[in-house]
Structures are given as structure tokens and as C-alpha cells.
Amino acid sequence: MTERALALLAQIAIVLFLSPLITGFSRTLKARLQMRRGAGILQPYWDIHKLLRKGMVIPETASWIFSATPYVLFVTTLLAGLLIPTVSAQAPLSLYGGVLAVVYLLALGRFFLALGGLDTGSSFGGLGSSREMTISAIAEPALMLAVFTVALSAGSTNLSVVAQASLGQSWRFLAPQQMLAFAALFIVLIAETGRIPVDNPATHLELTMIHEAMILEYSGPYLALIEWSAAMKQLVLMTLLVNVFFPFGLSIGWSMGTLLSLVLFGLKLLLLAAAVVLVETTNAKMRLFRVPELLAVAFVLSATALISTFLF
């Protein structure tokens, strides 16, 4: 019992405290590729720390939804993080839900975020929310189909079972359906975490924003929670990719070997983050109406992956 409690605490710590590091790493790497020095890998931690201590400005037109959104978003994202195997193939809460739960927890958070954007009545919030929903309406099915592909071969939608099944046959990611599903998920990852070519997290131009436009009215601790949730969501999606497709080094249960797994897990995440940054640096942002086309590609890839599961 204590072991399970400890595992749960360990995973909470990983999801909470590793996520800003990935964001910081991405930003620093991006800065270096542009021949800038960047703010440093630890900057997201300082940002969250700073925002948590600041006061807040809440628009007069905002209702309870505005205030509830950061908490709902934070909790749903954290819960999703606990359903996914990180260093151990056994996720602490995996008995309570599988991949469907992960997808819908994230969707619930997004639903509230979109409402929060609309709630203040500012035109930018409305723009952001409408764009976010347009994109997620196509990104979500692609995500589901891709994960189903993997779930089918493992015979379960429980991510811990999926991870353990892939651990048994570690070269399985070379199978065509796995590669297709990975490609689809990579596109979804870029779209869902709001990176170029879909969204530009570094822009100051309100008219072009998607995720940032929804949260323009947030400040102080609320903004800290939202920024932190965004980092966690990125960690969740990246973990899904690295641990389902490349499960090497996942430990079974929680033991001393888990430390080695933690290092391996970190390395895998950094590699994936570096790949995303490369895509970001070498591409311009797409015209907004092209984004659905990109996501349609992801959808077709994952649909093909699913079909080829039955062929090979």
C-alpha cells in the first residue's frame, strides 16, 4: 500500500516538476539555433514562481467560469499525467482509466480553457477559442485512432498494459502500422502543444494567436497555473509518444533501477523535444486555413495505421 502511495507521489513529482524543464530546454535550444543566448533552461520555473506571487487583474465581465478554468485545467492535466507510464511501465492510476480517459481529461481541460477565453467577452479570446476548437476537432480523432492502433496490437486500451506489451518486443516500432501511428501522433503533438507550423508560442501579434489569445486576460497565479498546465500537457503527450513507441528502459514496478529509467526517460524526452524544435526552426507558420489540411494528413496516417494493423 505504501509502495503504491510512494509511486503515486513520485509520478506527481515527475509530472509537476519535470514539465517546465522540457519547455525551458525547447526554448533554449530554439534560441541557440537562432544564434541567440536565450533565457536559460530554468526560466519557466522562475516564471511560474514569479507569477504565483503576483496579484491578479480579473475582468469585470468575467463569471465563475473564468476563475474555475485554471483549476480545472491544472487538475485534469495532472490526472492525465498520472494515467500514463513515465519511468515505470505501471502508471500509478492506470487501474482507473486507459487512453480514452487521458484523451477526455485533456479535452475537458481544453473545453474549459475555450470557455474561459470566451467568458471575458474580449474579441481576441473569442478568436482564440474558435481557432482552438477548430483545430482540436480534427486533432482529437487523429490522436484517438493512432492510439487505438497501438492498443489493438496490445489488446488493451490501458496504457500500462500497452507499454508492457511493447517492452516485450522492443523492435516492434519498426512495424509499418507503428511508424504510421507515430508520424500521426507527432503531428498531433505539434498541433496540441501549439508549436510552429500550427501556432507560434512566442508571438506578440494577438491577431495570429491561438492558445495565447485564449489566455490573454489571465494574469498572476491563474496564469501560472495555465502556463504550468500547458507544460504538463506537453509532457503528457510527449511521454505518450516516447513510452508507447520506444519503451526501452521502462522499469517494471518501482525500485532502485527506476532511477536509471528516469535518466533514460529524460533523454528520450529531450530527443523528442529537439526534433520538435528542429521542425519549428526550419518552417514558417502555416496559413491558418492550411492547418486543418495538415491535421487531415495526421488523421489519414492514423487511419491507415489502424487498417494496416489488420493487414500485417
Partner: protein
């Protein structure tokens, strides 16, 4: 060789009954007087013969001649001179017939005259306030009877009413006047159906500073600094246009050495702004790496500027009669060295941008400004040349040392963001050539002549192709080395309405890049 038919002379001879009289002043201007305040027949005649109306402005002559004068500045496609048609407006009937229906380009300019001088533009299609906002009291600051130290009481007048946005699913997005980032104030009111923009309403003049009025109070040697601050990124061009007008009025020819130095600095100003814009266009489509390099190159030129003039933005260098100081040989060597580096690295940068398909995809066919619309709106400069308007003051009305070099004007017909960027790229390459040619002819010589006191009551026009486009300064000198009137026309004033046309039908997230491809000055518009 200019034939008589291909110049203003032929036209003036044919339209002889339209004018009361005309006279040539120097080799750059012709002044023609109209019998009445009705400029419509003359404008129609000149326009039908291919002339372009470059500017409309007024001056208050109530004290000396008990009338106002309206000036219509025309440009002929094959004539180096400007034709200034002067129409008298009697002070007891302060009105003039509007030309805005036939020539939409003068829409804002006529309304400025209306606001600043209280001359009514009759039958103007949209006679609302433009330069002084709707809440201003009924004052006309550029009239001589309005003292510059007038303190207006805090006013709360009417609010500006925007065209209503109606229809199912059609929304308004108000943006500004205060923006994110460090830019000046301007209000953009979008009417959108989802993402596509139905139309855009613009409102400028939030930072009207009364610069034209201020010119009337300053001695000429101090007025140069005011001219340099009209639009910060065009300091040297505005300074040059102003000094040219002063020199013209005083009948002074600047030394060739000074003309060459001015030419080099004018081109450096063009280069640092163009390369900055290319980077900014890349940023607005999220291609940040190109901006990182462009910013570096811009910085290279800014440091060279400091090396050559002591100011990164080229301020304080120009003065009536030449330039303020001479260059040492090692400064010129430094200039050559830096431009060699710039040339090589700029081609690298263009390699990065041109091989990026995703960037091209964003820029091509975005924000199209139709050549016909561009002509109607009198669009000038970079935006004009990207939409088929083959004009460049450097070639058409040579000044400084431009007479000694060949200027090839890049012209595109497509009028999209990509072509506005290409015009900039071509012009940077051209600037490098111009500087090389002018620099190789630099011989030690005087950098300045002493200015005689300004003769009173002389009129003169200074025209410069700033990096944005045609900059005009028109002056009338007064007694005591002062100016009685200084009219400034910044290219942005013509081009803002063109932005409205270019964004129509595009989607909201493309607006920033379209706006950036024009990159207009708020300060130069508002003055």
C-alpha cells in the same frame, strides 16, 4: 531627350486657357496660377495626359493677400520638374470644390485642409474629421490667427462613429490604438465573417504633434532637427528633403562631395530599413531564424551609421548647404569593408528565405493590392512599385548625386506581400551598387557651403525618395531666416488607405504580415 510634347511645356501650351499665368522656377518647379478655386478642369486635363497628382495642400495668405492658396502638385511621367498649380481661395468664402470623387488619393489630404485651415471641401464624399479627431473643438490650428501657444480646455466632443457591422455571423474586432509591442497608436476596426476580413476601418492621427505649425516658429538652422524627427526611421530622408527645399529657396548649390556623402547616407538608411523589414516579414509568418539573421545585418549597418555620422539613425549629419562634417579616409574604408560583409551575408540570408517553401506559401498571393487601385489611391514607393507603379524620385527627379548613377526601378505587377518583399530585396542590391559607384568617385573637397540669409517670400519644393517612398517638403520663406509655411508629405499618408484595400478578403491572422509588408509610419502620417 525630352521632347516638348513629352513634358509640362507642351501641356501648358495646350491648356493655356485653363491657367492665368505660369512661370518656371529654377530647373525643378513650375508654378501655375488658376483664376479661381476650381481645380477640377485642370486636374482632369492633366490627369488625362498621364500626369499624377502627388499632393494637395494649403497655405494661409490672409494677412498678405487676404486669401488662402491651395497647391496641387503634379508629376509628369517624362518631366523632371514638378508642376505646382496654385488656386486662390478668398478668405470671405473659405471653400473649394473637392476632387476626392475623381481622385481618391486626395481624400485624406483634402480633409486635412478642412481640419487645419477650415476650408470646406465641397461635395467631398466623406467630409468627416480626419486629422483632428471628432472630439476636438472647432479650431483650425494652421491658420495664422491661431497662436501656437493656445491652450485648449479639456474637450469631450462627439465620438467617432464607425460604419456599422451588420449581418449574421459578422463581428467587429477592434484593435488598438494601443498595441502590443513598441509601435505607435492607430486604430484598426475589422469586420469579419469568421476569419475572412470583410472590410477594415482605419483611424490614424492619434499623435498629431503640430509639426507643420512648429516649423513656422523656428529659425531655419534649428528647423532641420525638427525635420529629422518627423519620422524616426526616415530621419535622413526627411532632413534631406527639407534641406533641399531650403537650398532651392536660397539659390545655393551644394558641393559635389557633400552630394555624394548625402547619397551614401540616403542609401544606408534605405538598406537598414529594408533589411529590417525583410526580417520582420519573416517573423510575422513565424520564420524566426531569418529574422535573427536580418536583425544582425541591420545592426551591422546601424553601427556603420554611427561610425560615419555619430548617430545610429543618421541624425544631426545633414545641414542646409551640405553635411555637417567631412569623412576621414579610414571612415570611408570602414564603409567599404562593412558593405562587403553585408553583401555576402545578405545573399546568404536570401538563400535561407528563398529556399523556404513554407515562407513562400505564406507570402505569395497574400494581401494583393491591385495595380488599378494602387493608381487610384496614389500609392507611392515600395508598395507602389510592387503594384506596377513605375515611379522613383531618384530616377525621375534626380537630387544629391543620383544624376550620376543609373537607377533601375524594380516593378512588379502582382502586388502581394511577396512582391513587396522582392522590391526591398532588389533595392538593397541596387543600393549596394549605388554606394559603390558614388564612393569610388569620392574626392577630397568641401563638405558644406555657408548659407546666405534666406530671402523672404520664396517658395521651394524638396523631393526625396525615402525608403518608404516619395517625401515632399514645400516651404515658403518668411522674414528673419524663418519659414512662413512648411508642408510635409510623408509617403505613409498615401499608403494607409491602400492597406485597407490590400487586406480585404484575407484572413485575420494574415493581417500582421500584410501590414508589415507596407510598414507605414504613424508619426509621419500624423505629424
Amino acid at each position: 531627350m525630352i521632347t516638348k510634347a513629352g513634358s509640362f511645356d507642351g501641356l501648358l501650351a495646350r491648356g493655356v486657357n485653363l491657367f492665368e499665368r505660369w512661370r518656371e522656377q529654377g530647373d525643378a518647379e513650375i508654378y501655375a496660377d488658376l483664376p479661381s478655386n476650381d481645380a477640377r478642369p485642370v486636374t482632369a486635363f492633366l490627369r488625362d495626359n498621364g500626369c499624377r497628382l502627388a499632393a494637395v495642400f494649403a497655405e494661409d495668405r490672409t494677412a498678405a493677400e487676404s486669401r488662402y492658396n491651395l497647391y496641387y502638385v503634379f508629376e509628369h511621367p517624362h518631366d523632371r520638374r514638378y508642376l505646382l498649380v496654385r488656386a486662390p481661395v478668398p478668405s470671405d468664402h473659405a471653400a473649394f470644390p473637392s476632387l476626392a470623387v475623381e481622385i481618391p488619393a486626395v481624400n485624406w489630404q483634402e480633409r486635412e485642409i478642412q481640419d487645419w485651415f477650415g476650408l470646406v471641401a465641397e461635395n467631398h464624399p466623406n467630409p468627416r474629421r480626419v486629422a483632428l479627431h471628432d472630439n476636438w473643438p472647432d479650431v483650425h490650428p494652421l491658420r495664422k490667427s491661431f497662436p501656437i501657444d493656445t491652450v485648449l480646455p479639456p474637450f469631450e466632443g462627439e465620438r467617432h462613429v464607425y460604419r456599422p457591422t451588420l449581418g449574421e455571423g459578422v463581428f467587429q474586432i477592434p484593435v488598438g490604438p494601443v498595441h502590443a509591442g513598441i509601435i505607435e497608436p492607430g486604430h484598426f476596426n475589422f469586420a469579419v465573417a469568421g476569419e475572412p476580413i470583410l472590410y477594415l476601418q482605419l483611424r490614424m492621427f492619434y499623435v498629431h504633434k503640430g509639426i507643420e505649425k512648429r516649423f513656422e516658429q523656428l529659425p531655419v538652422h534649428r528647423a532641420v532637427f525638427l525635420a529629422e524627427s518627423i519620422s524616426g526611421d526616415s530621419s535622413f530622408s526627411h532632413g534631406a528633403a527639407f534641406c533641399q527645399a531650403i537650398e532651392q529657396a536660397a539659390g545655393v548649390e551644394i558641393p559635389e562631395h557633400a552630394a555624394r556623402i548625402r547619397t551614401i547616407l540616403l542609401e544606408l538608411e534605405r538598406m537598414y530599413n529594408h533589411v529590417g523589414d525583410i526580417g520582420a516579414i519573416a517573423t510575422d509568418v513565424g520564420f524566426v531564424i531569418a529574422n535573427a539573421h536580418a536583425s544582425r545585418l541591420r545592426e551591422l549597418i546601424l553601427r556603420l551609421n554611427e561610425e560615419l555620422t555619430g548617430s545610429r539613425l543618421l541624425r544631426g549629419m545633414i545641414c542646409p548647404g551640405g553635411v555637417r562634417w567631412n569623412w576621414y579616409p579610414d571612415q570611408i574604408e570602414e564603409c567599404v569593408r562593412v558593405l562587403k560583409i553585408f553583401d555576402r551575408e545578405f545573399e546568404d540570408l536570401m538563400g535561407i528565405i528563398e529556399t523556404s517553401d513554407s515562407t513562400r506559401d505564406r507570402l505569395e498571393r497574400t494581401g494583393i493590392l491591385d495595380p488599378d487601385k494602387a493608381r487610384d489611391l496614389g500609392v507611392v514607393g515600395v508598395a507602389g512599385r510592387a503594384s506596377g507603379i513605375d515611379r522613383d524620385v531618384r530616377r525621375d527627379h534626380p537630387y544629391a548625386a543620383y544624376g550620376s548613377v543609373t537607377i533601375e526601378v524594380p516593378v512588379y505587377q502582382e502586388g502581394d506581400v511577396l512582391r513587396r518583399m522582392h522590391v526591398r530585396v532588389d533595392e538593397i542590391r541596387q543600393s549596394l551598387n549605388v554606394i559603390r559607384a558614388v564612393e569610388s568617385g569620392l574626392r577630397p573637397g568641401p563638405h558644406c557651403v555657408t548659407m546666405p540669409p534666406l530671402p523672404p517670400d520664396r517658395c521651394a519644393l524638396g523631393a526625396v525618395e525615402g525608403w518608404r517612398g516619395e517625401i515632399l517638403h514645400w516651404i515658403r520663406t518668411g522674414p528673419g531666416n524663418q519659414l512662413e509655411r512648411c508642408k510635409i508629405k510623408d509617403p505613409s499618408l498615401n499608403n494607409w488607405p491602400a492597406l485597407v484595400e490590400a487586406v480585404q478578403g484575407n484572413i485575420v491572422p494574415d493581417f500582421p504580415v500584410i501590414n508589415k509588408s507596407f510598414n507605414l509610419s504613424y508619426s509621419g502620417t500624423d505629424r
